[in-house]
Symmetry: C2
Subunit: 346 residues, 2 copies
């Protein structure tokens, strides 16, 4: 066997060798990172900026299926979902720490793949990997990433500050990542019956990418800033539009009215939903993992927002007493309900 | 069945209900915590202070065995090992985020127990729990905690700043946590054979507590500060004295000379080691999980440190060319070697 074809085990390197291998090429990109990997803790200097901190955990068999998830994409996604939370505060991600539990089924090359995705995400979003922990695991893979970001004093946008009559806006389109997941699950079942089956993914490239390699909406934060629009409240859509608008409503003590016809859907999402006999609006409301930004803005910003690409105005904030409703295309009021983890991820 | 005896499943509550239950009683203790749990990210304000960040991951079957680890103690330990890393930078822990993957074998009451330990550690060390993530897991329990701490501008102590002729000091005693683990493992084996066997742990209470409920040495950081002693380098002992002094030497490009007779051992550690026919010095060198502080200090501080309780002077820093050695009681030089994860945790 030639050297380049040899698969290496993690135990050949040991913990210190593995950490060294995974971190040796890191170059610090941000001034706020004084000391990255290599001590008991990293050291940061944010001067007079505010600091935002968020943590997300991805677990094998719950959040991802390695049958169809390339490890590089998984690493990329694990980092990006945290960046998305930072942008949802109207802040900029600057550092991450990465904790990974790995079973012995993972070769060194597999770990390299996973980290290459994390490093690529850091590169693309100008973020420093400053620390973490690596452990064996008796079973599957788990990745916990903590992202740290910065924001100027008065720019942070919370969930609890939406006001009655504010417009409700969302970036991009919704339900695509969920449709991508349904497609992958379907092809996995087909593959189990016929291992020679080659799925044709070409016409569904967009929804697959939305599931496997999502991006965080840094561009939207920049777009809003360039147009001098500060949202009155904001959240990223990880659990689905329905759950996430309910978070804003609950925290802001307001109601909302969303219009079905205004909810942005991609052509592929609609096609796939029809193939699977699902209402695409249900995917947008409850699918989750869109990592789009859902925000409210003052009615004064309506004209400006209306002209922006990639942002849809989908409803408005109402008094709490009016409830949280979706107005359907045939003009019926349907109360929105929370979904998320309990029902979608099992 | 009476209500109070009923065991509840996590799925009865769902994700949002669980998060609410685990975080509803949190009261923010630190001024630097502007916003804790409840948004996409927490928001901190460290003003002109430096920020330190560290992450540790504990995995069931690798770092702990639930056969003999009470969940409350596990939660406490998972938080405290992170605080220890923060103190090892000469900083003060202020916030943590907690990511937990839980299999369905855990009842709601079990999760409450785990979190009660985390909350107690936060209470005792004046730290705010500001966020995190909770997920199901197909198998065991994994806990990843990120701690954030603060430090005045010039007070941070790194690993790479030890100088030739500095004295090497360590707090408390070493090897006890490892002996506690060996005792628990032995009793587990006995219990497997005779489930009615009741182990007598009274005479080994100290080493058991060191394993199951370690504390971070905040008191030592305070003691040094009160005596105007700033270490020249510092690390906390998680992998064992040998590995951790080698980290300081490698990072500082120096050698070291440790004296076997100076290494602090507790009476129970010595007794247990003799019972198991192990050299207690080997436990101190390679056992790990001591969470004591290992630091170097200027020779000028020798007289002051000599008088301090709970700190032992165990050697000195040498030129790199002299190597890293342990001088045994019979005056032999033994090169120190790294252990840790590869050999001890399997």
């Amino acid at each position: 066997m030639k050297e380049k074809e040899k698969i290496h085990t993690i135990s050949e390197l040991g913990e210190f060798g593995l950490i060294n291998r995974l971190t040796k090429d890191i170059k610090i990109k941000n001034k706020s990172t004084l000391k990255g990997v290599g001590d008991d803790a990293a050291v940061l200097d944010y001067k007079n900026k505010k600091i935002v901190v968020t943590t997300d955990l991805l677990v094998e068999g719950i959040h991802f299926d390695l049958t169809y998830t390339p490890l590089k994409h998984l690493g990329y996604k694990a980092a990006v979902v945290n960046f998305s939370d930072v942008y949802a505060m109207n802040a900029q991600p600057k550092q991450i720490t990465v904790a990974i539990a790995l079973s012995s089924k993972f070769s060194l090359e597999a770990v390299d793949e996973l980290y290459s995705g994390i490093h690529l995400a850091c590169e693309n979003y100008n973020v420093d990997l400053i620390g973490g922990d690596t452990s064996s695991s008796l079973t599957g893979l788990a990745i916990s990433i903590t992202a740290i970001g910065e924001c100027d004093d008065d720019n942070i946008v919370y969930r609890n500050t939406a006001k009655v009559n504010d417009i409700i806006c969302v970036s991009g389109d919704l339900g695509s990542a969920y449709m991508g997941l349904q497609l992958l699950e379907r092809e996995k079942q087909v593959f189990k019956i016929d291992p020679n089956f080659q799925p044709d993914f070409v016409k569904y490239d967009y929804i697959l990418e939305r599931q496997l390699k999502p991006e965080a909406r840094r561009d939207i934060i920049k777009l809003l800033k360039n147009n001098s629009i500060k949202p009155t409240s904001m959240i990223d859509i990880s659990d689905g539009l329905s759950s996430d608008i309910l978070h804003i409503c609950k925290n802001s003590k307001v109601g909302c009215c969303l219009y079905e016809e205004k909810i942005p859907l991609n052509r592929q999402t609609i096609d796939m939903a029809h193939e699977l006999n699902i209402n695409p609006i249900v995917c947008a409301l409850n699918g989750g993992e869109d990592y789009e930004l859902l925000f409210t803005a003052s009615l004064n910003d309506y004209e400006a927002i209306k002209t922006l690409l990639n942002i849809s105005i989908i409803g408005h904030i109402t008094d709490e007493s009016e409830g949280k409703n979706l107005v359907t295309t045939d003009n019926k009021n349907i109360p929105l309900t929370a979904q998320g983890w309990d029902t979608m991820e099992k």
